[in-house]
Symmetry: C2
Subunit: 408 residues, 2 copies
């Protein structure tokens, strides 16, 4: 890695971001106006806009002839092209793919989702995604031939090669399949660079940079079919030495407890996943077979269901407390629909974490439900894409670009 | 933070590092020779060497008149000045301060230690450090008026303000004292920038960059009067949102267990610190009152002592396993003299961690004793100093500068 080269690339990219920000905030501008606003030379602005025009990120909309005072040649006015997809976030869940598309200024210009069967193989999933992207292009009038980058979230640890001996099904049906082909398929189809990571990690990054104030240190846990987790440390996603970071669902919480699909016993996931919670409710005589039924039971104050939820959240709280002791996050975010429909979960996690951490306020993270739904993973992949250059690792992003891709 | 300015500072610093590396590796060189070796223009090299001469990092040793072929003015030959301290690492332990001094090329040019009483206040500790530094200057012929940076390791969480309500003594006698004055005292005395952090963190960073291959993700735990810990993630020390990251000694391992000095009960520290291990040995009838006596008991195979050590290491292994599940380190390093004298500790931690993590090889970190002694904290502070510019966060360091400050 040649540092001086990278540094020059960073300078260029920083300048380009400033030009794009000016165009996003002010609309159509001449090159002279851009130069004045961003404080760069006319020459530099011309180089940047030439590159942006070439890749289709901006277009010439008109000239300033109508408003121009004095003589001289009218100047072209440039604007972002909202029909030119520049970034794409893709999230492959167990049962659907979601796609979000952003322009050069990081504004979402199209998004949608497409279902597939849970047992669908990767060729079928990828084909569903491509069909969705074609449809979005038609419906929103967006073209994809100028894409700069594609972020793709997948289930299970990433990179896949890090866990070659994971038992079949340990991380969902897609895990053991030829998932590595995903990046190649997208790169070939769109001629853009592709980053792939675990979709829980992307969700964590999206939570860290969304909302009121961005936080640099965040622990994210998602309760769904399994229990996933991800860490943002110093503003960056943590992948770990072999891509396995964040697997909080497989922390042993009950030594000698029920066998987990990972091959261990007594993992947090055997207590706090949605299926485990449902099963425990039924053992206690509460007839809940779906999240809707669980919601009703919570709303009518079913004491058995409440106790099961408290026990699960208490186990989760112990794990969160231990991890928080290790890396001292500012925020803990609990994702998954169940956390929204059963407020007792966040409440009990908060109470348990308080007993696990130092007994003073500065040691306690804020604990909250996820702001983005599970279906917003594509936004996380987009957010990761905006952060993806190693050149930006550790640099504070311009505030505007940090949040513009995410809903208020 | 103005990114373009930082970028230019980074370019300058990168160039300077390359000039210094050339001088370290090749000895005295003319400006023309430097320019050829590092691939920079004569003008740039002249600017850099002017700055290095001004701050006393290099000196003019002679001219190339004797070896010069052809005509023209003889060129000055420049060399590093090993008498000019450029970086200083300071480690304030409970009972001694250690200082290590490096030249501009990151070579250690002086080091030493000075004891003080455990109950010594900060003025006394600082005064002991200044006395030691004066002595090192005299003995090694080193001067300190060109210092670029000082790294200072202290006991307890840092920054201190993050735990304003910690009970007195929770992190050792120095913690609640006016430790914030340390940086001011050193900055005033030497006119250099100062970074201060927890010395366990500095030790972790030193372990991560020393030895055969540098690792980016490392978990460090030290067993001593307490149990300290620190994380290196993606090559960077983790401080946490309020400076409390890494306090693994205070993870609850035994709910309702013995009261810990932090105010909680059943912390890992109540089981795995050296005093806790000694006390447990005595409860089991083994008469050990010092590490030397413990070593003898281990060497003669005292079964009670062995069991106590296994129990403590098993508790440590559970905590290490949980933290490793969260952030997937490449290496776990166990520091503290006791880990060296009782190999059963690393052995038992390894066995326990294996049961806590996924049952496949890629999930398992390498687990080893610390390579650097507890007394080498000053080297960790130096290493942190070499990494300290936020500009270098996330950038791979030149291999030579990563390891040159550390013993082979």
């Amino acid at each position: 890695m040649e540092t001086p080269t990278e540094v020059h690339a960073l300078v260029r990219r920083t300048h380009k971001e400033r030009v794009l920000r000016a165009l996003r905030e002010r609309g159509a501008l001449s090159r002279g106006e851009i130069a004045k606003i961003v404080g760069l030379s006319r020459t530099t602005v011309s180089e940047i806009t030439r590159d942006l025009l070439r890749r289709g990120a901006i277009v010439v909309v008109d000239t300033d002839a109508a408003v121009r005072e004095g003589s001289g040649r009218p100047a072209e006015r440039l604007a972002l092209d909202p029909r030119s997809a520049q970034f794409m976030g893709v999230d492959f869940g167990h049962r659907r793919v979601r796609v979000a598309v952003a322009d050069a200024a990081h504004e979402i210009v199209a998004s949608g989702r497409q279902r597939y069967q849970e047992d669908a193989g990767w060729p079928e999933r990828i084909s569903a995604a491509f069909g969705l992207i074609d449809r979005l292009g038609d419906e929103c009038g967006v073209h994809f031939h100028a894409l700069q980058g594609i972020g793709i979230g997948v289930t299970g640890p990433y990179p896949r090669s890090s866990a070659p001996h994971a038992p079949e099904g340990a991380f969902g049906p897609g895990f053991a399949a030829a998932r590595d082909d995903v990046d190649v398929s997208f790169a070939e189809r769109f001629g853009a660079s592709v980053i792939v990571d675990n979709n829980t990690r992307f969700a964590a990054l999206a939570e860290a940079i969304t909302g009121g104030g961005a936080v640099d240190d965040l622990l994210y846990v998602r309760l769904s079919d399994g229990v996933g987790g991800a860490l943002v440390v110093g503003g960056r996603l943590v992948g770990g030495a072999t891509g396995l970071a964040g697997e909080l669902g497989h922390v042993t919480i009950e030594p000698g407890g029920p066998l987990c699909r990972c091959g261990k016993a007594g993992c947090l996931e055997t207590v706090a996943s949605v299926p485990a919670i449902m099963a425990a409710c039924r053992v206690r005589g509460a007839d809940v077979g779906s999240l809707d039924e669980l919601r009703s039971a919570v709303e009518r104050g079913d004491p058995a269901v409440e106790q099961v939820l408290r026990d699960a959240a208490s186990a989760l709280g112990r794990v969160v407390g231990m991890v928080a002791m290790a890396f001292n996050p500012a925020e803990v975010v609990i994702g998954g629909e169940i956390a929204h429909l059963a407020p007792v979960i966040v409440g009990q996690v908060t109470a348990t974490v308080a007993t696990e951490l130092f007994p003073w306020a500065a040691a306690k993270p804020a604990i909250r439900c996820a702001q983005l739904s599970d279906d917003d993973g594509a936004l996380g992949a987009l957010a990761a894409l905006f952060h993806s250059s190693p050149l930006f690792a550790g640099y504070p992003e311009p505030a505007a670009s940090r949040i513009s891709a995410l809903p208020a």
